[in-house]
């Protein structure tokens, strides 16, 4: 059975799933890259995604409007980003532990709201697939790339947009300066705190959107701990991608391809244990971290709260 398992239809299916599944990784990891480029490690991404996923799911369930759901998810992400920035920028708390606190808060809050307001797992009608004219009609390629829902396209468009923003705009340069040498940026009149607030909030809003894409574009439902650590993998992808949107894209595709492969192998009843298969992305993350950590230089002020007159 293993010889003829990889037919053209299956390969197309795996690649289509891979593109789709990359969506939440892309939103969350590019968002985290903004925060980290400014020097703040936000480990609460998974918690923000969970609350965002619930918000989008619940609003869609109540109003039937997926767009409103996504908008609310972004706003909720923004609010949690404000909380994270207040704790880690204004109060200069240890970023690792604050992020874990935010994660626990998001995990608890999304479970609490889900149990109180919804109770049972149910599906919503999420974003519909939009076939791109002409391109979507190309055999194989069309099915893989051009017959997805709007959030999927948006996630991939975010990559060049984020690159342009970080490399070609004044704000992007400020974010990088604040992450590399906050004291120098400060002496040139750049408000370190303001830039970090902005970056963390932007990243958190994207994390909220990542959650929304999960609950209203990929699986169209919500359950407790829906993300199952996806947000942490997204943080790892930022290291793996060397803080560059293109690197993150490569990492996200690698991960989603492994995930899609694993899901399809289970569907097809291939002879591997599902527990082993589910372990794959996590093992891959560790391997990726080993591979990436010493290869790229991280923002010099990463994980360091800035205090005037200290350096």
């Amino acid at each position: 059975m293993n010889e003829d398992i990889l037919t053209l239809a299956v390969v197309t299916g795996i690649l289509t799933s891979a593109i789709r599944l990359a969506t939440p990784y892309l939103f969350a990891a590019v968002g985290e890259a903004f925060a980290q480029t400014s020097g703040v490690v936000n480990l609460g991404v998974d918690g923000i995604m969970l609350v965002g996923a619930f918000a989008a799911f619940y609003v869609t369930l109540q109003t039937g409007n997926v767009w409103l759901g996504a908008l609310v998810a972004i706003l909720v992400g923004l609010l949690m980003g404000l909380l994270m920035s207040f704790i880690s920028v204004t109060l200069k708390a240890e970023q690792g532990i604050s992020g874990i606190g935010l994660y626990m808060f998001g995990l608890g809050l999304s479970s609490l709201l889900f149990k109180l307001l919804v109770g049972t797992v149910q599906t919503v009608e999420g974003f519909r697939a939009v076939k791109i004219p002409l391109l979507g009609d190309i055999p194989v390629i069309g099915a893989i790339f051009f017959q997805h829902s709007i959030p999927v396209y948006a996630a991939f468009l975010l990559v060049p947009l984020a690159w342009w923003f970080l490399e070609k705009t004044t704000w992007g340069l400020k974010i990088k300066a604040v992450g590399q040498n906050p004291a120098a940026a400060d002496s040139l009149g750049v408000s370190v705190d303001k830039v970090r607030y902005f970056s963390v909030c932007l990243g958190s809003a994207l994390a909220g959107l990542a959650g929304a894409s999960l609950s209203t574009a990929l699986v169209n439902l919500f359950q407790e701990n829906l993300t199952a650590g996806l947000g942490f993998i997204a943080v790892a992808l930022v290291y793996f991608g060397g803080w560059k949107p293109v690197g993150i894209l490569a990492g996200a595709l690698l991960f989603s391809a492994v995930n899609a492969f694993q899901l399809w192998m289970q569907v097809l009843g291939a002879n591997i244990s599902s527990d082993v298969a589910v372990m794959l992305p996590y093992l891959l993350t560790i391997a990726a971290l080993v591979f990436a950590t010493n290869r790229v230089r991280q923002p010099a002020a990463l994980n360091k709260p800035f205090e005037r007159g200290e350096n």
Partner: protein, 376 residues
């Protein structure tokens, strides 16, 4: 910072530690109150009466002997996990991997007890504890090694190790470790066979769950205190955490001690898994960690990352967890409320650390000014 005054006659310095201790306890308590206040707002918004919810937490713990002993039973794994977190945090290693380390410990104790069930109890029981410590330690050693050797961020690697441990357990309790009785009955429940009675931890009060593991945990808290503050290795672990550059300059192998601290942290979390299996459930089953890996972090932070401060902190959070279960049953407020509040407590505790540093610095300046005035 101005130099500390050498002779400050009218303010005896001996009184300061007490003040600091009070001050140190006041901030976490304030953080807790703030979290509960915010929780009340959330409950009000959800049209739940916060007073009924909070009152049911309190009466759930103090309303009955069973509630009270359960709080001690839940405090036990929290204390053990927290001790490990203390050791790791003291070397500034953030161990988020306790969930996975608990699982490994529970697996180790279960596998040992079932494999060598014919051994006499005096050998089987300590052996199970050692097996759990080693298994947990292994799960801490891997991220420790990755940190020391490849500088891999330990937070991310420990989170991944949690997910891997969970799948490993699922694999084992559905496969090699599955209860033969469940297979025979055709239920295929995902749990292990019941452990031989010789490894069950003694119940301290009949008809309750309170077991000797609680005493073991308190004893180990004292041991960890002595280890961290009275031994060379403990001193070096703390030195690495306080100032890695100075520690390196003093010839301390910084990555080595960081890895050691994570390994020890894993061992203590592993013991927490063992007491759950040997003291409470008497078998390995799904959900064995009950989230202790995360609530243990909260307890450790709340206890000021001090093994002795951790004892009351663990009991406090054990009570909260018991109260949350009772609340869920009595007034139908999901116990996830407590998880939410625990997250807020973490945020507030780490956030207030900065304020307390600032206040401490200000007080020191004020004190030194007073000293100078009295000299002049």
């Amino acid at each position: 910072m101005p130099p500390a005054p050498q002779s400050a006659p009218q303010k005896p310095l001996a009184r300061l530690p007490w003040k600091n201790l009070l001050f140190g306890a006041a901030l976490p308590v304030a953080a807790m109150l703030a979290a509960f206040l915010l929780g009340a707002v959330v409950l009000l918004a959800l049209r739940v009466n916060p007073f009924t919810a909070y009152a049911s937490i309190f009466s759930g713990v103090f309303g009955s002997l069973s509630g009270f002993t359960q709080s001690l039973v839940k405090a036990t794994p929290l204390l053990l996990v927290g001790l490990g977190i203390c050791i790791a945090f003291r070397a500034s290693m953030i161990n988020i991997g306790a969930e996975g380390q608990i699982i490994l410990g529970a697996l180790g104790a279960t596998a040992w007890s079932l494999a060598f069930r014919d051994l006499p109890g005096w050998l089987l029981l300590p052996g199970a504890l050692v097996a759990s410590f080693l298994a947990g330690a292994l799960w801490g050693f891997v991220p420790g090694l990755l940190k020391a050797r490849f500088r891999v961020n330990e937070i991310l690697s420990t989170v991944m190790m949690n997910a891997i441990a969970l799948q490993l357990m699922n694999l084992l309790i559905r496969g090699p470790l599955i209860d033969p009785a469940g297979v025979a009955a055709g239920t295929y429940l995902a749990q292990s066979e019941r452990l031989p009675e010789s490894v069950w931890l003694l119940r301290l009060i009949p008809q309750t769950l309170l077991h000797t593991g609680s005493l073991l945990a308190v004893g180990l808290a004292v041991v960890v205190y002595i280890f961290l503050w009275r031994t060379t290795i403990g001193f070096r672990i703390r030195a690495v955490g306080l100032n890695p550059d100075a520690a390196r300059y003093a010839g301390i192998n910084v990555p080595g001690y960081q890895a050691l601290s994570l390994t020890l942290a894993g061992g203590f979390a592993g013991l927490a898994g063992a007491v759950e299996v040997m003291g409470v459930h008497h078998r390995l089953l799904e959900g064995i960690t009950s989230g202790y890996g995360f609530s243990g972090i909260v307890a450790a932070l709340f206890g000021g990352l001090h093994p002795l401060g951790l004892i009351p902190a663990a009991w406090l959070f054990g009570s909260l967890l018991v109260g949350a279960d009772k609340m869920q049953r009595a007034v139908q407020v999901p116990s996830a409320l407590i998880d939410t509040l625990l997250g807020l407590v973490v945020l507030f505790v780490v956030g207030s650390a900065y304020l307390s540093r600032q206040w401490a610095a200000r007080r020191e300046i004020a004190l030194s000014k007073q000293g100078k005035e009295s000299e002049g």
